[in-house]
């Protein structure tokens, strides 16, 4: 128990290393039995801790308690608000950090959205947030494109081209089916650093699409390939999300089953 790289191997497992450090650790693990064993046990512990039975979600009772408490609280605020002009707090928040980045990104890629796209944007955003919150990120867990793609064929309306991009640090972790835009969309799930990226794809004809949308620090990038519409969603930096979009566009035209 003395390999000096154990903490870096752990950081690699947790997606905390950049691409070049990750490559170094991958080479090291191939040569170090101790670190190989460590990686396996990290996976075992991770798998064990992800059992749904261990996750304690808030009960509906707690939710209504909190709504009631906030109502009492807001009641007080209203009586104050009637007397005092409250400053525009939102813009104070917007001027800093992530919000500023998001704001800059949406200005840089300002597009005139087609009228029907509001619902679509919300659909995808809702599905992304639910996948992160409800312990339902992955239906089929695999980094192997030959496992994930056939799984889609049996479960979703479409079977998009699928690939893992470990070198570029976009690691395929699995797939899922989600309802978006009235379709059973196939969802590829990638890890990039500490972030989760969901890539939705479904069959949709005709309508104009939004291009890039940013809401609350989350980016959505839409594109079309063959008969399919794609949307990649994440809270990564926009250029990092576009990096994955570029790779996915390169792997070719999908075959639609519709």
């Amino acid at each position: 128990m003395a390999c000096p790289e154990t903490l870096r191997v752990q950081a690699y497992f947790d997606g905390e290393l950049d691409a070049s450090a990750s490559a170094e650790i991958e080479r090291h693990v191939e040569a170090c039995g101790e670190c190989m064993a460590l990686l396996r046990s990290l996976e075992a512990v991770h798998g064990a801790m992800r059992q749904p039975a261990l996750y304690h979600r808030a009960s509906p009772k707690l939710e209504s308690r909190i709504t009631a408490a906030l109502n009492r609280e807001t009641g007080n605020q209203w009586s104050l608000a009637g007397l005092i002009l409250r400053p525009r707090q939102f813009w104070v928040g917007a001027a800093s950090g992530v919000m500023a980045t998001a704001l800059a990104a949406s200005l840089a890629f300002l597009v005139l959205l087609p009228p029907t796209s509001g619902q679509l944007i919300n659909d995808v955003m809702g599905a992304h947030l639910r996948s992160l919150m409800e312990n339902h990120l992955i239906d089929v867990a695999s980094s192997d494109q030959h496992t994930v793609k056939p799984w889609f064929a049996g479960h979703a309306d479409v079977s998009p081209p699928t690939a893992d991009f470990p070198k570029e640090d976009y690691r395929l972790v699995g797939g899922r089916v989600d309802y978006v835009d009235g379709h059973r969309a196939a969802v590829l799930v990638y890890r990039h650093g500490a972030h989760t990226i969901n890539v939705f794809s479904w069959a949709r004809s005709g309508d104009a699409l939004p291009n890039i949308v940013t809401r609350n620090g989350y980016h959505e990038v839409f594109w079309r390939s063959g008969d399919l519409v794609f949307c990649a969603v994440s809270d990564t930096a926009l250029d990092e999300l576009l990096g994955l979009v570029r790779l996915l566009k390169e792997i070719g035209t999908p075959d639609s089953r519709e």
């Binding site: 947790d14 512990v45 039975a53 304690h56 808030a58 807001t74 608000a81 800093s96």
Partner: protein, 181 residues
């Protein structure tokens, strides 16, 4: 509904499950967890003006954690009960019945229940890093923000927590297997 409330509900309440999960693992009792979460949400709402954007999740979880430790300190003052980490019997492994069970499915269910008890038996600083990393997918930086510990400490705690969990878990699985007829 005012603007403040609307922004709070959009940015903070999506993390309600995460807040409850952390509180439940720290407090180890359902009622205690609900009280902590309600208190934490109210504190978060009152100090929401001071929240400067970014990800609300580590910010909220830091408040949950503070509420938990405040509650523990108050309870200890009133009732002189030991803090969870002073509960020495936990160091001898989980207090579970390892009697033989012929049903494989029952053993599987037992193992899941045991895992619950093994995690619950870890010291609180180990429990919280495990919950934040393995269940909530927080980055090291966010865990550092939520727990107030430096990143180096987060990394070494996480490594020790995982090693301890694995060790106790293996010992438990072995115990169940050896108990089989």
């Amino acid at each position: 509904m005012n603007d403040q409330r609307r922004r709070f509900e959009a940015q903070v309440l999506p993390h309600l499950d995460a807040a409850h999960n952390l509180a439940r693992w720290l407090a180890r009792s359902p009622d205690g967890a609900d009280d902590i979460v309600q208190e934490a949400i109210l504190r978060a709402f009152r100090s929401f003006d001071g929240f400067r954007g970014g990800d609300a999740k580590p910010w909220l979880l830091a408040i949950v954690r503070n509420c938990f430790f405040t509650t523990v300190a108050q309870t200890r003052q009133k009732m002189h009960v030991p803090l969870p980490e002073e509960n020495a019997s936990n160091d001898d492994g989980p207090l579970v019945d390892k009697s033989p069970d012929p049903e494989f499915t029952a053993i599987r269910a037992e193992q899941s229940r045991n895992l619950d008890q093994i995690v619950a038996g870890l010291p609180p600083e180990f429990r919280e890093v495990l919950v934040l990393r393995e269940m909530e997918d927080l980055s090291y930086r966010d865990i550092a923000q939520a727990t107030g510990a430096p990143i180096g400490t987060v990394m070494s705690r996480l490594a020790r927590a995982r090693a301890l969990l694995k060790e106790r878990w293996l010992r438990d699985v072995e115990g169940v297997r050896h108990g089989m007829p």
